[in-house]
Each structure stands twice: as C-alpha cells, then as structure tokens.
C-alpha cells in the first residue's frame, strides 16, 4: 500500500480513534500512515455485532415467554456464547446449559450465582432480571 492510500472512511466504530497502517512513501521507504477506518472492516465488524444483537433479541423474547433464564440474555449482551461463559466461570458447558433453564436458574446457590456475577460483571439482582430498556451488546 502506498502513502496516501490508507483508507479514510471515518468509521464510527473507532469513535474518532485512528490506527496506523504500514505504507510505502514516494521514495519506496516504509513509514506509517494513520487511517480513520476502512469501510471493508466496518462491514465485517457490523456482521459480527449484528449477530450478537440478534441473539440478544431472541433471548429476550424467550425470557419473556419463560423459556429461558435472564442469564442467557446477559450472556449475549456481554458478547459471550455458552463456550465463553463456561470458560470464564469455570463451569462445564453442560452445566451452563442446565443453568439456563428458568426453574434451575432460580434455585442456583449464592456461590454459583457469584461466579456468574464475577464473569459478567453484574450484581445478583441485575443477573436475575431483564433490563427494562434494550441494551446494545
């Protein structure tokens, strides 16, 4: 890539940050140039974030229908999935899946609940309820 060709697409996702790219100047010498974002990156980032949003919305619906525990909503809201949540709490995946059942979740011991609180960074009240407003993951 040549100096002057670093994309300047003002990505909103960078929140005004700029990132350096390695480019070749007119003398053929490597230097860095700041980029305000590249549309191509924005496209693939949106794809990933939309996926979390979609999962979040689906989970909220299922919580409201009593089909799953609020834990599932919070898991996606924190951009996790069952694997990541299991890894960050130290539970097995089958345990996390079990805990997602409303009847089992509501009877979780304080100790187990605390592991979810720690991993998701929220209080036990927050963990056991749905937030009123939709929160962006």
């Amino acid at each position: 890539m040549k100096h002057g060709d670093a994309p300047q697409d003002d990505s909103s996702t960078l929140e005004g940050q700029k990132k350096p790219l390695y480019v070749v100047n007119s003398d053929g010498v490597y230097t860095t140039e700041l980029s305000s974002g590249w549309e191509a990156e924005e496209v693939v980032l949106d794809l990933a974030i939309n996926q979390f949003q979609h999962q979040c919305q689906q989970a909220r619906l299922r919580v409201e229908q009593g089909k799953t525990a609020p834990l599932e909503y919070h898991m996606y809201q924190r951009r996790m999935d069952i694997t990541v949540l299991a890894q960050s709490t130290g539970f097995f995946k089958f345990q996390v899946k079990r805990h997602l059942q409303p009847a089992i979740f509501s009877k979780l011991s304080v100790k187990k609940l605390a592991r979810y609180q720690q991993a998701l960074g929220m209080t036990s009240v927050e963990l056991q309820t749905l937030p009123l407003d939709e929160q962006q993951p």
């Binding site: 996702t13 929140e15 350096p20 390695y22 990156e41 693939v44 974030i49 951009r79 694997t83 960050s88």
Partner: protein, 333 residues
Amino acid sequence: MTAIEFDHQQTAHCESGAMSALLRHSGLNLSEPMVFGIAGALTFASIPLVKIGGMPMIAYRMPPGRVIKGLASRLGITMKFERFRDNDRGMQALDDHLDQGRPVGLQASVYWLPYFPKDMQFHFNAHNLVAYGRQQSDYLISDPTFEAPVRSNYQALQQARFVKGLLAPKGLIYYPTRIPAEIDLPKAIRRAIRSTTNMMLRTPLPFIGVRGIRSVAERIRAMGNHRQAQQDQNQLVIGHMIRMQEEIGTGGAGFRFIYASFLQEAAGLFDNPKLEGASRKFTDVGDEWRRFALFSAKMLKGRMAFDYAQLADQLTLIAEMEADSYKSLREAI
C-alpha cells in the same frame, strides 16, 4: 501517587508495540517491525476444528506471547514474568512496581478495558499494554494501539487482568531485567528469517503456512456447493477471517506490510539489495490480501454477487505469491 516519564508511541500491533516500548524505556531502540520480525511472529494458520468464539481458528501471526518470548530468546534479553492466583495480590504487585518507578507490560482482556471503543470490545484475553503510573484512583496506561496515553480505574483493570477462559492472563506482569550490552542484530535477523521461511514453506501440516492458505482457498471454493441454510454461517466465517486480517491491529494485510517494513530495515542494515527485493514482494502480496478483504466486504454487503470461486482464486494467487516471496527470502540471506 506515581508517574514515571514514559515515551508513549502508537503502534499497529499491541504485543510488538508493548515490547518495543518496554525495551525503549530500558535503552534499547527497536522499531515495531524489527520486534515483530526478529520474534519470528509472522505466520498463517487455519484450523477449522479449533473454534474460538464459535468461529474457526484463523491466525496471521504466531500465538500470543510469542513476540515477547521469541524476541527475548533471539537477542538474549532476560524477561521476568509474574502470574497470580489472587487478584488482590496481583494488583498489589502492580502497585509495587509502579511505586518503584518501573513501567511493566500487562496482559488483559480487551472486553473489560474501559477506554476501548464499544464496538472494539470483544472477549480477546491476550491484549498487551504498559502501565506506567497511578494518579488518584486511576492507572496511567500506555496502550500501544491508541494514539495517546489512556487511563483505567482499579476495578476495570482488575477485571481485565483476571478474566478466566481461553488465554487467561492470570494477572500477567512482564518486564525486562537484563539487556545484553552487545547485541548481534544481523545474526538474530538471519535466524528469524530462516525460521519464518521454514515454517511457511516446510511445515508438514496442511493448515499452516502457504499450504494453510491453499487449504482455506479450497474450503472457500467448496462453500459454493453448500446448502442455502449454510450460507449465513459461511459468510460469518469469511467476515471473521477479514476481521483477523485487518481489524485487530495488524498494520494492514494481516501483518504482511509490517513484515515488508522489517525486511526493508534489515536490507539497509545488511546493505543487501536482495532483501530489499523480498520486501517489495511482501508489499505486493499485502496489496493482494487487501484486495481479498475488499472483494469479501463488497460481496458480504451485497454490492457484488457472492462468488466463492472468485475469493478462492484470489487466495490461490496470494498463496503462489507468498510461496515465491519466502523462496526469494531464503536466497537473500
């Protein structure tokens, strides 16, 4: 309250940047590309069965930690690594270092660092940054991927340093304890280049090196024959690949431009025009990686018809160009 004079410089890649900054603070000036190149950090690996965050593992650089350890071992630098079981002791140890006037490298999760833009916060636990002081309740941080120094409060930094899971940082603190007075840079560079070319050309595994690029090309070609129900997932996989290539601080083209810059710097050091030629080849191959990202994004956005064969062809071209680049690199040293 402590504040150490620390020269913050923004770099493309966090681990190379943190290492470069720590060494500079100790009096050894090495550019980011030099750190990356000598560590032998360039690679290509794609292991579909290993899933990270639900996506097949794909990497353009060696696993986290390799830059620090690879560079240290090639240059004879002694690094100290401290990990902690207990969060409070890990935070206390950090405070002690800062009180003694020693900036230290930290490993942390991107997700919990408060100064990251929201859209950039993902559960990647092997981000690197340098802590260089405290002010009131804030830690002063030189995060190599940011333009200016940043801050984090105690709570957030603790959460980020002690997340559990894949590549868990366990509160990792690192810093150089001994830097040799004389460093044989040319020897280290030659060894590093040999090790990288060996890995890229001769690894007897189909998912690493140039063979890895070819196998991804074939997997993408095969996606064209998948059922319709599979297409959403396929597109997420391609999007994931582009993110690993461009978004996560690679300096562009999955570290290929950084590597070209390293080769150019080495060419100047050796006065070796062949290395300069190899550097140009890596620039060219980097441009093709960028084109691959651009095509993919256009197809994902629906501005171009989705054509898996075209993406596969582009990757095959890249694989050929990479193979040629590593071969001329071997001849150059």
